[in-house]
């Protein structure tokens, strides 16, 4: 197996585990942790594709840095949203946010 394939398989493993966590966790913070796992898998896949193929190497690394910046912005916003949900609904569980239920 080529190194690129091994790296992509590790990234797919992170994607599978993160998707599992996103769907099985019941608290918003647990879901945020799973999303971070998936974003990490994406970054790993991008850098591996940039480094192990004959494309310009700095492009893959720059794209991974973009992913990291977006992940930081996303987790900042999710922190604020979780805080507001906790204040308004009294719990940080995803089932608690069900005001529209008839």
């Amino acid at each position: 197996m080529s190194p690129l394939l091994l790296y992509q398989l590790v990234a797919f493993g992170l994607l599978a585990v993160g998707l599992f966590g996103l769907l099985s966790r019941s608290s918003l913070v647990g879901m945020l942790i799973s999303v971070e796992l998936m974003l990490n898998g994406a970054g790993l896949s991008i850098v591996a594709a940039g480094q192990l193929t004959p494309m310009p190497h700095e492009l893959g690394q720059a794209a991974a840095l973009f992913v990291m910046g977006l992940a930081a912005a996303e987790s900042t916003l999710v922190l604020a949203i979780v805080y507001v949900v906790r204040k308004r609904f009294g719990s940080a569980a995803s089932d608690a946010v069900s005001e529209l239920r008839g």
Partner: protein, 170 residues
């Protein structure tokens, strides 16, 4: 000899990454889940070093382990999610099964496509100096570079606006 060292360290780091990830999604306590996430992030940073991308590995540790993990820890402490014990009770077997099936199907489809139609080319990883990455950021990708700073600012301003406690008028 060198080949063997690389293979063994790849296996070790991949096991660290995936093991930490599994711990992060299965741990009952959210603080332990965060520790699993940290392990996984460190494993990914080591994998970056292995393909000659030390700058990305350093940024991974700086941004993820240094900032994002601390932010999530703040979120856990602010919401007192652990004290509520909400992860402990609500373990529905059917839900876990469906979630596992969804994750395996999506990643399995992608992995099958990658195994069958993946590129057969194999380049060797060459370390690029950080000045090249900086030139890429400030040369052809300067728009993205500037937009991401706007995105970061908007996210921070949005967080402040959301969490700001307005004093009630009497």
């Amino acid at each position: 000899m060198r080949e063997l060292v690389v293979q063994v360290s790849f296996a070790l780091y991949a096991a660290l990454t995936l093991g930490g990830a599994v711990w992060a999604v299965t741990a009952k306590s959210l603080v332990r889940a965060l520790l699993g996430l940290t392990l996984s992030l460190m494993g990914v940073a080591a994998l970056y070093v292995l393909i000659a991308a030390p700058l990305v590995a350093l940024m991974q540790i700086l941004i993820y382990v240094g900032a994002v993990v601390v932010l999530i820890f703040f979120a856990i402490m602010l919401t007192r999610a652990q004290a509520e014990q909400e992860e402990a009770g609500a373990r529905d077997a059917g839900r876990t099964l469906r979630a596992g099936a969804a994750g395996l199907v999506v990643a399995g489809l992608l992995a099958a496509a990658c195994l069958r139609h993946g590129p057969k080319i194999a380049g060797t990883a060459v370390e690029v100096p950080p000045s090249d990455i900086g030139a890429a950021f400030l040369g052809p990708y300067v728009l993205g570079f500037e937009v991401i700073s706007v995105v970061l600012f908007a996210a921070m301003a949005g967080a402040v606006v959301l969490a700001f406690e307005r004093r009630k008028p009497r």
